[in-house]
Symmetry: C2
Amino acid sequence: MPKSIFLTPGPSELYFTVPDHIQTALRESICEISHRSKQFENVVRNTVSQLRTLLNVPEDYYVVFTGSATEIWERSIQNLAMDTTYHFVNGSFSQKFYDFSIALKRHAVKFEVPAGQGFDLENLEIPAVAELICVTENETSSGVTFPLSDIYKLREQYPDKLLIVDAVSIAPYADLDLTKVDSMFFSVQKCFGLPSGLGVWIFNEKCVQKAEALQKEGLAIGTYHSILSLIKDAKNSQTPSTPNMLGIYLLGKVAEDMNRKGVKAIRQEIDYKAALMYDVLSKNKKFELFVKEEKFRSQTVIVANLESESAPLINQIKEQGIVLGGGYGALKARQIRIANFPTHSKETFEKVADLIEKY
Amino acid sequence: MPKSIFLTPGPSELYFTVPDHIQTALRESICEISHRSKQFENVVRNTVSQLRTLLNVPEDYYVVFTGSATEIWERSIQNLAMDTTYHFVNGSFSQKFYDFSIALKRHAVKFEVPAGQGFDLENLEIPAVAELICVTENETSSGVTFPLSDIYKLREQYPDKLLIVDAVSIAPYADLDLTKVDSMFFSVQKCFGLPSGLGVWIFNEKCVQKAEALQKEGLAIGTYHSILSLIKDAKNSQTPSTPNMLGIYLLGKVAEDMNRKGVKAIRQEIDYKAALMYDVLSKNKKFELFVKEEKFRSQTVIVANLESESAPLINQIKEQGIVLGGGYGALKARQIRIANFPTHSKETFEKVADLIEKY
């Protein structure tokens, strides 16, 4: 049986070059060399450099690695807020970021709207005590995006607060201007199409200063993965402990492939596929787009409700060798979620669109 | 050029079956399926079950996964000590475990001896306030082992304190009786011969109760990787966040291979190779065993000083396609460290022994 193609929103289909890069990694002993060797420093240097190009990372921003984006929820609160964090919550993942702040004994304030909805920033008032504003750029559970223009508006309105963007399931699709945020992070098993077990954290000097200030105040900002420990080793293209070396290598290679193709071309393809899928879903009366307001509709995670259970459709498409995602949590049974990531081809999308049209 | 064989103490040579298992993983879409799917639950279940057999884990002990053993230093202190930890320190890694406790604002007490030495437990007095005793079973930086009989002595003398064993670079070689400790952990890039980026944490109900007690007292015990969060998902063979799925799969497969061979046979081979290497090193006057007392000599990390720089020897052996480790930290230039892990063949060891004999 040929391998299925995964259009699930993460883990998802591997980027098509990954199997070959794994073979090269094995041949070049990437998993066997010392993580303190010059050879591995070069691997780290290449990955960071490719990411800088792909995501247009300002030169004075740091790029470091953790075990997951989930870990960065924790590390960012530990390092960037002494007392109060502010969260935009509209689904399971933004809610978890908020929950982490409470578990870490911070005062967490949230602006909450139901799943499937975006945020109206008119009349927004973030409390003066909030030190860190947490934005989930693409709520993977519901397919709602936080428009870039709204992120930039937050920066204008609150220039003195730290602004951090969870870019899981959207980087590198969104052309986020990093100079307008203090930090951004993502995991690699979504748009990058890589094996899970690696998070990437990008932040500026203001974040470093905040971590230093918290440490001076006597707060525990963590150990090996505090911002201060991470940047100390990052300066030498190293990591505080033995990292997911294969993951870092593969990320560099895939970012290199993406740079070769050009991030603009990747974004255009995603726009084309999203337009196609939203069009066919909105025309078939058996479906209803979950995100009502167009400006909040994610281009990378497309969610639709069905009038009946989604399992028959999912099974029918599975027979064609394509795996769609079900709904998330309580909405599981009557929803589909379709990942629209760089590795997913136009041909696959056209095939799925055709099947949905005829359903 | 054929691939070199890595006798470095971690990362080290991949277990010889790993490349094949990676191919199977790719074919079976292990990196692409949902980490919440039945298929991946089966992967987790198999890995845990194989580890239970291999390490003779008592049925009522938990087996969970983290990003690294380094992470478990942090998580164990967060979850298992409110105020005071006690550490046996004789090298860089046991020192780091101690440092983590201080970074987490605990009172850390250490019994320190120079690198290369073991601990004399006569007249040992661990303060009454110490809640957690931290033992580094195999100090990878210096090749010193903490004898099993001494671990059991600690348990007898301090039955009410939690006893945790860092088994990095020794599990599954040591036949540690887990009923005599409360917790044990390791990373997979040492004896298991796996790509780095995964830690395994084993603990009993007493650890869970301690974490619950700390939480009740209002302490922050972490977020997704607190003991309480980890066991909640482990009960369903799941993980709190998307883990290193490939790593968990490969660990299960390699543990399965090891179980098929039999852990006794693996231990006997390691004993044979250690005897061979220690013998040849002690007979050549250009070398001096770094660990003077035989009972403290590690079977899995063999360390020797040279009368001159170690680089010429390391280079000479490298020309034969075998990579030895240098010394650690300050001792780098005049030491060799040789990993003696399950994947390293007798033939390789005989070849290295021969080269050292003639050096």
